[in-house]
Amino acid sequence: MQRSIAGNVVLATCLMFLFVIVILPFYWIFSSSIKIPQEIISLTPTLVPQSFTWQHYGKLLNSSDFLLYLWNSLQVALGTMVITVVLSASAAYGLYRLKLPGRNLVFQIILITYAFPGILLLIPLYGMMSRMGLIDTIPALIIINVTFAAPFAVWMMRAFFSTIPVEIEDAAALDGANRLQILLRILFPLAAPGVASIAIFAFIMSWTEYMFASVLIISDERRTLPVGLAGIIGQYQVDWGLLLAGSALTAFPVIILFALVGRNFVRGLTAGAMK
């Protein structure tokens, strides 16, 4: 489709606007994090750093268990990811592939999970986790993160199962494969882009979660990155250098991850939606 010149101008303006609001703030955080303290708190901000230092990163890594937080966050996110994929993919398969009667009602019930404020669940969940001996453990966070990631993932997944021709399945059934085999050997590989999307979705939901992690985790050794970073924010002193370095380091792993698999997230979503 050919665009008019006006169309090009509008498009370029939109893209420029998006670049400024989405990307520039990250540049600003990173460039500030490598300035010396005096330049950071200077009243005249400098777009290009006039000084250069890794001291904030050094201080961060030396004086806090940042790498440990990173490892914890990874464990929580990977655990959440695996369970969410299994639960959501199988539920989506059940609901949309097998065309169960009343599936829309079931699906709506699943979505209504989001009607309950996290605050409401927090206190009873604390008691429940405590009785199960899960307070201050990684599984506690995985359990609750799956709850908030899975329902939406079911919906994201639904498109994929409706794009795969039923005939493939029927053919396999004729060959004597059972439902599980069909699901694992035939449908999963075909739905791989969708699985990638919900895997990334679950990973990110878990990676960014703060409220439950701040309450259900007690010891420093099991804190996730957001909680560890909030700890550095503190209240008594604002060490902007440390804070900015912490933010940059917290953002960095997901940026790397996204650089590697980000294409799949968007492509997976859009691929599924195409007829």
């Binding site: 303290p37 005096q38 708190i41 200077s42 009243l43 201080k59 030396n62 004086s63 806090s64 268990d65 790498l67 440990l68 206190i123 604390y126 008691g127 405590s130 009785r131 307070i135 201050d136 701040s214 309450v215 007690i218 010891s219 420093d220 050794e221 909030a230 700890g231 550095i232 503190g234 209240q235 008594y236 002193q237 604002v238 060490d239 902007w240 440390l242």
Partner: protein, 428 residues
């Protein structure tokens, strides 16, 4: 990450060296505190490591918590049975945990320490009520007015001692790229503190009558709120949303000429000029016509939250270790100049005055100690302790009342009346 190996090594070593004690499991003591800055955590860890090495039958470990969520976390932990053995607290916080249960009265222990190192009485008082002493005082914190000598010299004015001088100074020091003063107005503990500083110095330090009814709504309180509002016009536009850290950063950058704060020494030394002679400290100015200046001061204490005899004994041993003059100074100097001694022995300890930063800023630290002598805390004044103050401070009602004036533009009279109504509702 960094601490773990030391621990493992230590336990492994102990298992080799003292097989006899290694057979009995060592008593585990967990300490929760809210001193989040990394260098404070590090200092506490050093002391813990030393204690653990000297006491093979005890293993102390620390978990750093945040003031932001400790109010929900600690009671929940007690209820669920995974509370720490020791929790550092301020007087406002103790009544809440006492109500949840599990607090030990530390009376006997405190008497023992008192006999040896002589506790400052005003530090023990806020924890003494209902027939017990519910926390061991560990350190004192008090507000002062911080400024730069050179800034006052340049403007050709004296350091203020009265409110009229203070307001004039704030105005005179406000320039193109500097605000005369930085004071907060959000619903936070820091605002409670700065507001109460003014209340003390207008004669409104008593929030309660002797009989426990409220006397917050009085002309002295109103005067304090009015003056706070006047001062805040010389404060930066984002200061209403500040906590301690932003105020300190504003002072360090030179954007604020004066702030009220516990200490600015570390920040000033590492992030600003770090010229000891230029860093000024004064008592909070008094309302014109008032006699003596006062300031808000907190006696921070350690609560012991276990019924287990062995754990109580181990916890007491650890606290006694921290209060030993040789260690006490190093403990206080986890943030040089912020934490002031609560024992007579501690205030003379070489370990306190020997810290390089304390040596460099000795006159400032001496002034802080002097200011802290006239320290007071709302709800715990003049020997009367009203545990119901916990409900008032947990909701930051002093700060909330201030917001009615500074943010919503109500008159101080209306706001203070409304504030008293809120307080009555809170403590009923």
């Amino acid at each position: 990450m960094k601490r773990l190996p030391v621990f493992v090594l230590l336990i492994a070593l102990l298992a080799l060296v003292v097989p006899a004690t290694a057979q009995d499991d060592p008593v585990e003591v967990t300490l929760w505190h809210m001193e989040q800055p990394p260098h404070r955590v590090e200092r506490i860890q050093e002391l813990i490591d030393e204690f653990n090495a000297a006491n093979p039958d005890v293993v102390v470990s620390q978990e750093v918590q945040s003031w932001g969520d400790i109010y929900q976390k600690a009671p929940a932990a007690v209820a669920a049975g995974n509370a720490p053995e020791i929790l550092f607290a301020i007087p406002d916080f103790t009544p809440i945990l006492k109500e949840v249960g599990g607090l030990q009265s530390m009376e006997t222990f405190i008497e023992e320490i008192d006999a040896e190192y002589d506790f400052v009485d005003t530090a023990v008082e806020p924890y003494s009520y209902d027939g017990g002493v519910w926390a061991v005082p560990m350190y004192n914190m008090a507000h002062s007015l911080w400024y730069r000598e050179s800034v006052f010299e340049e403007a050709g004015i004296e350091v203020p001692t009265t409110w009229s001088e203070w307001l004039a100074a704030a105005e005179a020091l406000t320039t193109e790229d500097r605000y005369g003063i930085g004071i907060p107005a959000n619903r936070q503990l820091y605002t409670d503190q700065t507001v109460y500083n003014l209340m003390i110095n207008s004669g409104a330090d008593e929030i309660y009558n002797e009989d426990g009814t409220l006397r917050f709504n009085n002309p002295d309180t109103i005067a304090a709120f009015e003056f706070y509002n006047e001062l805040s016009q010389f404060s930066p536009p984002d200061s209403p949303n500040w906590t301690w850290g932003e105020a300190e950063a504003c002072f360090a950058s030179g954007g604020c000429a004066m702030i009220m704060q516990f200490t600015v020494i570390t920040t000033y030394d590492t992030q600003a000029e770090g010229i000891a002679e230029d860093l000024g400290i004064a008592p909070i100015p008094v309302m014109d016509g008032m006699e003596s200046a006062g300031t808000i001061a907190y006696s921070n204490g350690a609560m012991v939250m276990t019924d287990d005899e062995a754990k109580i004994e181990a916890s007491e041993r650890f606290l006694a270790f921290l209060l030993e003059p040789e260690n006490y100074g190093r403990f206080l100097n986890m943030e040089p100049g912020l934490f002031l001694p609560v024992t007579a022995a501690g205030s003379e300890a070489e370990s306190f005055w020997g810290d390089p930063l304390v040596v460099k800023y000795q006159s400032q630290v001496e002034q802080m100690v002097a200011n802290s002598q006239s320290g007071r805390l709302f709800g715990f004044t003049n020997g009367n302790t009203f545990p119901s103050i916990a409900s008032i401070s947990a909701q930051n009602l002093l700060a909330q009342t201030l917001q009615l004036v500074v943010i919503d533009g109500e008159s101080a009279e209306d706001a203070v009346a409304e504030g008293q109504a809120l307080m009555e509702e809170a403590i009923e």
